[in-house]
Assembly symmetry: C2
Homo-oligomer: 76 residues x 2
């Protein structure tokens, strides 16, 4: 699976664990809801800035978010 | 300072510590040398895939690379 697809799944899992809607995540991260949706569907890749913004909106560090993705990639 | 500029400085510092040229990093990460140069000058932002490729080329984890950037951002 492509890393952006894995990222999308990791992002969706964390967002749902925090019972946060895409709209709310988009608002908190100051990103567009459609962009969040495309990230979660693995259609877009996050940039460093969107990683930082999304992680902050999820009250975590971007490095933690990237580490979760790396862990999933290693499982493959 | 913008996060992409901080990323560029962190990347250059690590690359030089490893005595690796931009050409060699470009070759190892399968990225274009001009792209590496623009990343180091903070003109471009890395995507998730380029973070993963660059970190691998530098024999480190992308999460470690992002953490170094976060540490620098926090110092500001």
């Amino acid at each position: 699976m492509k890393s952006e697809q894995i990222f999308g799944q990791v992002l969706r899992t964390i967002r749902k664990k925090q019972k946060m809607s895409q709209e709310n995540l988009a608002f908190r991260s100051n990103l567009d809801r459609t962009y969040i949706s495309m990230l979660e569907r693995g259609i877009h890749q996050p940039t460093l800035n969107s990683l930082l913004a999304i992680a902050s909106a999820l009250s975590m560090k971007a490095s933690e978010l990237v580490e979760l993705v790396e862990n999933e990639i290693e499982k493959e």
